[in-house]
Subunit: 410 residues, 2 copies
């Protein structure tokens, strides 16, 4: 293995990174609701943000910072309020948040990023935010990975974090990360501009050029957050931020080098593991489903087809019922809007043939019913019309999802 | 009023139309599962069918008949089996069905249409079909509207049918219809090629040219079946068929005449009433929601935006919870893929202002909570960016929907 997992790893595992998770008071429950990531050294930063037109105030703000190419030292994340659809006031609140944190950390304001998740359309309670910032700065520690991962949760049931270590140029390099998801999950992340409220943060002590970090993040999205969907809703707040502070002392990683490839594989592992964990912890999820579409005319066609299946309420409820109803899968492919020949379509579940050339492949239904009862279901759909392919990770649609989202507001 | 409702009306209300609904034995429950509509005179016919690539065998067959412009005398409809994804065998089964029915009715085979709804991917049990056809022919009657409407039901909880009468050229003209829906409802009907398994049949004794009947059906779809969505899934079997037998003896209706306009208004009333009934009887529905999007750059943009909201799992569960969570509505508009200025968006619910210029309009949440608890909810979203507009009729997403669709197969 080029990289190995670090026990209890997270965003504070890389050298010279600290993290905190505290209760500011934004959640009525009194649970942790504010996380802070801080680097003792300036970081190269890369970001990807929601493509939703109603991008939240912190997303608008962060895009500007990332686009400016400045070094970054800190990321403040709050749950409990999305600061979305809050207009000019929302932007002023982000600026006040940044100024307050920068002052306490004694760093320039332009080195601070902010993320928010929670209710849309409610102004930020700035007194609560400012009190929380002071607590978070005091709580910063090398042991802060777990608390930070807890503090960014909304309807998540468990914190999602990990870190790996690898060797580059003779030096130990660490890549750590954390994420939250649960609902409004169907990221369509754009580099420098993602979807759902999913938030993800990756910290590394690797020395890497800004262009190489940007390239590593861009290349990883289709293998991680952009291949997942819980409910097809793309949030106003989706954010993925990667920070690299160079503390590992490795020769600076440039694009298109063997070191870049090694780094990128470990980086993709961290992001894809977090993305997969996010689906497994999606709202009310009982079953993880991987959909591999191949044989489309283009990769984009394969993506549209896989997403139509993944977001079909009928497919998702069938998976909940452990029902091998393959007609619903073909039906969703048929209305996805892409072109293919129905008579050349083949489908398998857990490797067993289900449909061949558009017709029932003859596997006994009792056998299919056993296969689809698995906690993790793999569906392979070959459209037989080209070389385009895409993989989506999704989940079932359950009573619990309906309950969580019918009751969230009240 | 130009037209008035007929008590107990349906597809057998117009002169010289008969109908039947019988138990062929396709449903395990023993419920009615085969309907037959028959006209004593040859009919002008128009049809609209699913845009799903996996169009079912009867859809493929009917498209050919409608495209040929022949007169039509009979429509056979079965529930319990969709005859979709059944390949060449499915098409041969349709042909055998047509031949058997034509023989018993002593009419040419090319005057018969066939529709199916139910499970996908299972061959038609032709012995059952043939036995059912004999029973259905025997049962044809002028009192058959109710039984026919019951026989086409799948997960529907009640039959949906109506008829209206109007005066044209001094003659009494009747337009009757029936529909079924419940799940896989998001028709994207194409004339001469609709979506969900929704089936709808309209019969009239008006004398009308084929071109005028086609035009009346085409113009009515965006005001009826193409504006509804239950779950966003477009079926392999969606079908709307209109038959006009001329028995009323009115002067033949031509396009672009005052008579055509009068006929069309009554025709739209029948289709839109059936479409609305279909949503109200959607799987597990507790709340009907009308979404009016205005101010889009184009009507097509308005449609995409309205459908994104209508198909959002988060909006639908909020409606189930009677939750005035407007952030989810704006969020769905924001990821719908159309262009508009978020700062110019206004939203109202039941006529009460909710969002103005992208921000909370200040209506107290307690007041909004009361408004959205209505059984029928009206949402008006003005994007402020043009003159494009579209209306969608949809419903909430409930425990019962999940239950019905997780259990349907078994």
């Amino acid at each position: 293995m080029e990289y190995v997992c670090i026990e209890q790893g997270g965003v504070a595992s890389a050298t010279d990174f600290l993290a905190a998770g505290i209760t500011a008071g934004l959640k009525r429950s009194g649970a942790l609701d504010m996380a802070l990531i801080y680097s003792r050294r300036p970081c190269v930063a890369a970001g990807a943000f929601t493509s939703n037109l109603f991008a939240a105030a912190p997303v608008i703000y962060d895009r500007g910072i990332i686009a400016g190419g400045q070094p970054v030292r800190a990321v403040l994340v709050n749950s409990g309020n999305a600061n979305a659809c809050t207009g000019e006031r929302g932007l002023r609140d982000v600026e006040a948040t940044v100024a307050h944190l920068a002052n306490l950390l004694q760093i320039p304001g332009r080195q601070v990023l902010v993320s928010s998740t929670g209710r849309i359309g409610v102004p930020m309670p700035m007194d609560v935010i400012k009190g929380g910032i002071a607590k978070a700065v005091d709580a910063l520690s090398e042991q802060g990975s777990q608390a930070a991962a807890e503090a960014i949760m909304t309807t998540d049931t468990r914190p999602k974090r990990l870190a790996v270590e690898l060797s580059l140029g003779g030096r130990r390099v660490v890549i750590g990360g954390m994420t939250k998801g649960a609902g409004m999950i169907a990221p369509k992340l754009r580099m420098q501009p993602p979807q759902a409220t999913m938030l993800a943060y990756v910290t590394t002590d690797a020395a890497i050029t800004p262009a190489a970090l940007h390239a590593a993040l861009a290349a990883s999205l289709d293998q991680s957050f952009n291949r997942i969907t819980v409910d097809g809703d793309t949030s106003t707040n989706d954010t993925v931020i990667a920070l690299a502070n160079g503390a590992a002392g490795n020769p600076v990683i440039e694009e298109d080098t063997p070191e870049f490839e090694v780094f990128s594989r470990a980086f993709v592992h961290v992001l894809s593991t977090l993305a997969r964990e996010m689906v497994l912890d999606g709202e009310g999820v009982t079953r993880f489903v991987e959909i591999n579409v191949t044989g489309a005319q283009t990769d984009e066609d394969a993506r549209r087809c896989a997403e139509a299946i993944a977001n079909s309420a009928l497919c998702k409820t069938a998976w909940f019922g452990a029902d091998p109803n393959w007609g619903r899968i073909l039906c969703a492919a048929g209305y996805s809007g892409i072109a293919f020949d129905p008579a050349r379509v083949s489908l398998s579940m857990q490797g067993a043939p289900v449909v061949k050339n558009g017709l029932d492949a003859g596997t006994p239904e009792s056998q299919l019913a056993e296969l689809v009862a698995a906690k993790e279901l793999r569906i392979d759909l070959d459209l037989g019309s080209g070389n385009g392919q895409f993989t989506v990770w999704t989940c079932d649609l359950t009573y619990e999802y309906v309950k969580i989202n019918a009751d969230y507001h009240t």
